[in-house]
Symmetry: D2
Subunit: 344 residues, 4 copies
């Protein structure tokens, strides 16, 4: 059985495991105040071209999302996001549990536009009874999106320009950021992301680490007391060095980017195989998640040897599914799958 | 200037003011433990045909909604409601502020159906990762709806049957319940409402009282410790007698129903005038809220003498607006408006 | 039976009832945007000597407390208050329900000192792990306190100086403010209160109104979007005029101060009677709440004719109880009680 | 520099690192549904003598505490705990952030008694206005306590008997449970803990793992939908196997107990050294935390070579400090410290 159902089926890049072993008996202070965390922070700041950025390490994506969002919003504010956004559909109401409404915007491809943000803002403030309506307080996007799609650099710039104009902090969920940045279709660098958001994170869990998300806060007004928020929300790891070591390793010799590139390459091979077979694609993704629409009978057969993720029924006899690759996906596995698809 | 913009532009039925005056110097215990509150509770139980019901008096609608909802849901549960539902759009995220997601269902007329509830429930539980998604925990409807429309008795029965089957408590927001029950189009009695919900409230604020909502809990599992919830959420009035006196008066000699009937009658006259004038109606309402679609130039002229509520632009030159009547709407005012409309 | 158990056993000053009757059929906009509310706001601003103050009307004390507090604090901050403070002991955890810890300080008389605030602040910030501890974010006091005691002007000035220095907004709960200001022992005016707090409220519920608390925000940084908070927390009354009319009446011809003075005078007569009888006093109160320590057998006898409030057992045979007076307390009632006490 | 300041200065037992390495490329489902997690759950159930128990793995202690507590309490309920309890003083108000008051009870040694719980319950329910006061809804204890002290088996039995009688679920925070169970002073087994609580956890972070806490729910009424809570609160690790592997390793060949015993032994040697030197002890701890009261000049000298944790000033010239041992504490380190103490 070979699993393509998500991008967290294995452990971590062997370099990380090795480093954990090597450092195991070193004594360090807790809570992220160790030298490894500081080194990782420094590397991230440099890669982002933002010496002034605050960098914090949290354990997982849901935790990071609600910690960042609840640190920004006032009690009567909500967060604008695509209706397909992770915080809107796959986090068991974690944001609402901190008291805030998720203000979902229609989206076909997982992205939202500058115009949608502007319209939402205008819609709110022109209402004579706007005090009776949740006030938009920030914008959440993910890059790549839940659908594997990418913002172009100009789309992000346009979005951020509106956000700045309207004083709505822009938060970019980069749980799969590496896969986005290394995609052939990418028009953005990490610096571009850092320049065009107020806060974002570099995902580790889905991109080579055992776990961990590196939050980068560039907007000075969002920096104050963030560690209190982390502690309160359960995101301050006692042995913070575990996060420091992982991110320090990922950002040594470009490991993070290499493994993401590998995953994207594997995904592109799969995509081509789906196209060659004549399958339509639910979303035109250039990253590590691929969404072919396949005959249910084909899926039944594949199920015996491969794990994939059901997405939605598209008609009586077809379903869209998701295949993911990751840092750990072997070429053999991809070739085997491609061969089996060809014979369906 | 005559205001039709909402149903809370005046004080209260004169009978209530008189009663407040008469009782002003009587000494009573606080927090709803006075004889007036008890009398009002007893009358409401009788009218509902439910001697076993718990009846509580709260001050306003938003407060009542979030107090009831947060008393029912577990932390990871949300409340199903029409996307136009008051809790979803006009309460500044009050439900989310108690930690719960509002699970909005599409609705054209403000109502939701038994099928929608069943589908939502199935959609949730059939997801392999349902633990990552907010669990539907109850259903919220309003009657009449935000759009002035009414559930038929059979619609409510069908909805409640599904709710009971799926163990989703059904909560009916009756902020304008009187106007619904006394509508010519109503097929329901107060007893029907009590029999086909787990908890509902009889609105006072918009229907003859200075303020106040009477919550009726019929489902025994929802009764425990509700007064703690009221106190914590700011809904336990120190001089609880004020609520008791008002509801006791409203349910003496059928005052509540009489004034609602009057308001509905006035609204029907207006509706006929809109139709006679050739205006289309945004919603086909048989209750005290009417939603004509009018040329903007007509609205401009009316604005000099009448208050109404802007609802939405329907095209370049037309807008839908809302005219409300209430217990206090004079026949003279209605006749004047009708005459002015005829001359537009 | 004559009730002295609390200060909300009757309705409201007859002037208020009369005014409600007179204005009953006037049409006004809702949510506090009516002319009465504006007039009341203007009068309050003038009396406070603060033309720049924002004034808002809410319904009750618990609601006001948690709405103000949650509008000020960041998620990881708590509110310093006396361990006997209303928010700490008698509001069913309403503040915690908005996500914030109440940081209780020891207090014998219901007051806290500038030194206690400074020490708490220092204690927090000098801890190497202060991020693991709730950060003091504001200070809550009540005046008079729960025990009927009063801050002197210099005590308040000293407290406020420390609060300003430490950037901790000072919030004064004035549920019984009138009784405090009119006490013979008072060394403060309303202007003094306005000058030495960031936000406070003038209580109506316990001091002559049917209900209502007038929040006065003098610190400009606390003003923004307060109405959103009111709406979300259920504190924005649809018929806001009811609050406007009441406070406008209370601040016409000094009614608020007159009725408070009357209540204090009645309380002082009771206090003297307790002293004359040889009872000790649990707190040395100069306001409308009195706390004699009485033999249980005396209390048993009084219980047949008078309502009072049990406070605590002080020894095997004695209890401290509370007697309250109010705007409505008749001289006859007080004389009757005094006579009965003398004969115990 | 040798650190004794806490019990999380190193990585993890080498057996765990080795196992992570061995399993790194195995593919498993996420979110704790892997074979390692299931194996670990089974071992824990067996060791607890409770085949019926639900076992869940979370990442850290604060997260575990607020997730368990908020899964149990109704909105108006609070959690009884010692005033020194971790949730009351060192979690940045995490419990309050979920809406619940921590009801702190006086405690000299970190423990609370059955009598205190009974008294708190009685105090609440006998109050005529108990609806105005936070209702005790559960009891939280830690074992060992923050002070290193232990409940005896009979103390726990007595406490649990009262909890059951009063229907207050008992939650035991076992962040350092291993050190408690293996202490020479312990009169309890893991089975005893499982039999005398409704839910507890076995701490990994402070006792040999990289991170992780194993929650054991024995009370059937507390089991439902706990995974929803975990997901919402950020405690459902994507690569859940990391927790499974760690706990499976810790409970293979008694590793968890062995390393705890080692830490306790090291701590006892330190304790004896403190006593021999004539230092008094702030708490009489028989577990891995030791609290000597030392002359400040001694502490100054030790600071050059050893890390310890400041606890509190005890007089002008003395301070209480904390020295911790762990699975990783070497005998050499302990001997060196003892020798240096002897020479102070």
């Amino acid at each position: 059985m070979i699993l393509f159902e998500c991008d967290y089926t294995e452990g971590a890049c062997p370099e990380i495991i090795k480093r954990l072993e090597e450092t195991n008996f070193l004594q360090t202070p807790g809570y992220g105040e160790d030298e490894f965390s500081e080194s990782a922070r420094e590397k991230i700041r440099r890669l982002c071209g933002r010496k002034d950025a605050d960098v914090h390490f949290l354990v997982g994506g849901t935790q990071t999302n609600f910690t960042v969002i609840s640190s920004i919003l006032r009690p009567y504010q909500g967060v604008l996001c695509a209706e397909t956004g992770h915080i809107n559909v796959h986090e068991t109401g974690a944001v609402e549990a901190t008291g805030h409404k998720v203000l979902a915007l229609p989206s076909k491809d997982g992205k939202i536009t500058a115009k949608q943000v502007r319209d939402s803002h205008e819609f709110h403030w022109k209402d004579a009874n706007h005090e009776h309506i949740v006030q938009p307080g920030m914008v959440y996007i993910s890059h790549p999106t839940e659908n594997g799609t990418l913002y172009s650099k100009s789309e992000l710039e346009e979005l951020y320009a509106v956000c700045k104009e309207l004083e709505l902090p822009l938060f970019l969920d980069g749980a799969r950021l590496g896969y986005g940045l290394m995609s052939d279709a990418s028009t953005m660098t990490l610096q571009d992301v850092a320049e065009n958001t107020d806060v974002f994170y570099i995902g580790g869990t889905k991109a080579g680490a055992l776990f961990g998300e590196a939050v980068v806060i560039t907007n000075p007004t969002l920096k104050k007391d963030f560690r209190y928020m982390m502690k309160q929300k359960g995101g301050m790891l006692a042995k913070g060095r575990l996060l420091g070591i992982q991110f320090d390793t990922l950002f040594t010799d470009g490991l993070y980017f290499k493994v993401a590139k590998h995953a994207d390459d594997m995904a592109m091979r799969l995509k081509q195989a789906f196209i060659d077979k004549g399958y339509r694609l639910l979303f035109d993704s250039y990253t590590n998640q691929q969404f072919p629409i396949m005959p249910d009978e084909h899926l039944e057969k594949l199920k015996e040897k491969y794990g994939y993720c059901f997405w939605e029924k598209t008609d009586e006899t077809h379903s869209a599914v998701r295949f993911c690759t990751s840092w750990a996906t072997g070429e053999n596995a991809v070739e085997a799958l491609i061969a089996d698809i060809a014979e369906l």
